[in-house]
Amino acid sequence: MNVWDAIGEVLTGWGGTDCLLELHPGSGVIHASAPQLRREVSDLALQLSSWGIRKRHLVPLFLNNSIAFVQAFLALLKIGAVPVLVKMDYRRLELEEVFRNAEPQAVLAEKHHLPVLQPFLNERMIVVGKSAERLELAQSAEGLPPPEDIPEEIASINYTYRGYGYPLGAMVSHSQYLQGAKILQEHLQGRRGEKMLVILPMAHIFTLIACILAPLLHGLTGSIALTLHPRLLWGFIRDFRIDYITSVPEIYEMFCRLRDPSIDLSSLKAFVSGGSRLTGDSYDNIRSAFSIDLLHGYGMTEFTPVSGNVRGQARNGTVGPIGRGLECRIASPLSDGVGEIQIKAPWITKRYYRRPGETKEAFLEGWFRTGDLGRLDGEHLVFVRELKNTRKINGNIVDLQELSRALRMDPEVAEAEITWEQDALVARIATRARIDFKEKSQKLKTFLRGNLAEYKIPKRIIQI
């Protein structure tokens, strides 16, 4: 079943509550009822079709968190086009790889973001820009043939990393989205009419599944906050009686430090957590500060959630039991039971777009190799660390090889070794000649800032 068909069915019998809210700091709230969302997605699908977007067309989305993002995503699915999910933080090096790999037929972007994308747009692309609440055709193109290598079952292409030094487009099926949303709901047990706060970027599959699709498919209201400022978020939680938040541990830790006991947060029932490591101390601090369930889980672009703690049964130190219907094994465990986490299910990503070699390496005898180390503790999975050459910063995946390659683009850099120390990226650089390293370090950071997502900039650059 197509994601839009499934959501369309649910919207028909939704009832009177909003299905989406957009919470603006200081300037009110935008509501979207179920009939309104159905109508607006249908209208937008017609509009995008009239502009030339067709079935199987690949369409990168560069939109901020908003009701418009949800509408655009669903409208593209309705047409049968394939949204390409890419972080707005991506800059030249990442965008070069994505555009070269995907060769999209159209782009849908915030108007203010189009200059960043300009080097990758060409006259053969349909370009749609969004400003305020309107989408406008910025460039038209006729009769673009769709690619022939996107199976019918594929809903979207979502870019991720596995340590190769460049992003890979995971081909995400409709059933992957629907099954992920089903498992998330089985763990969270949210009820119709309750509200999920959306604060993580929607281009990330964790946010799409936990904050948009699972709520839409089960009658909860996705409440999109356009800020991470705790003072404003406390106000939203109090005023709109928010029941759940989905976020990464780093943001929950910040919430702990900035908890204001004078503000009524009694509507909160549970936190859904994922995307980064959650230490035992952090778990205790968050639970102590908020006194609600903290449901930490584990997943990846190729399937999420692989596992997740269950409402009322959460355990510190684990990422919860494996999602129902998913098989999981620990490959080649050592004496402590730690080995590579491998998963198998009909609905996980089966390949990376136009990357046959990387696809072949990702599977072993039908099992998907996560590239992470873990062990089983009874029925619960315990995440130990990454095996692949990536790290997570605030839930964002950083490919250490990509960063090293970017630094070595500088002709004065002979070697660049990237390590993870005290929760920060550190680059150790060997130069070809003696130079003013302080000045070089500054220039390298400036170069990286224009060429990679900001969160990939190393905190320290050290000369070796």
Binding site: L228, R231, E250, I251, L258, E454, P458, R460
Partner: protein, 91 residues
């Protein structure tokens, strides 16, 4: 430091801001010279900036809109922004 930071001299306000930034970023405040670039040189990310703003609001009794930071690039620029907001509040 008292809550709201009332009755503080300009130098103490600047010192309080530097202490907040140092605590959150785990960078020695001795590195916070006025011309130092917040993002490029100190590596302060957007989540840290959010927490810094929230702490400045909490301890200095100012309200800082995130849009005010669009043109702030240096430590000196940030100190001037917050001290000017504090000064308006005291006036």
């Amino acid at each position: 430091m008292d809550s709201q930071g009332t009755g503080m001299s300009l130098e103490r306000i600047r010192s309080a801001i530097k202490n907040i930034v140092s605590r959150i970023t785990r960078i020695d405040s001795a590195e916070f010279e006025d011309q130092v670039l917040i993002r490029e040189e100190l590596g302060i990310d957007s989540l840290m900036i959010t927490e810094i703003l929230a702490n400045c609001e909490k301890y200095l009794g100012v309200t800082i809109d995130e849009t005010m930071l669009v043109n702030v690039e240096t430590v000196g620029g940030f100190l001037n922004l917050v001290t000017s907001l504090k000064g308006r509040k005291l006036a």
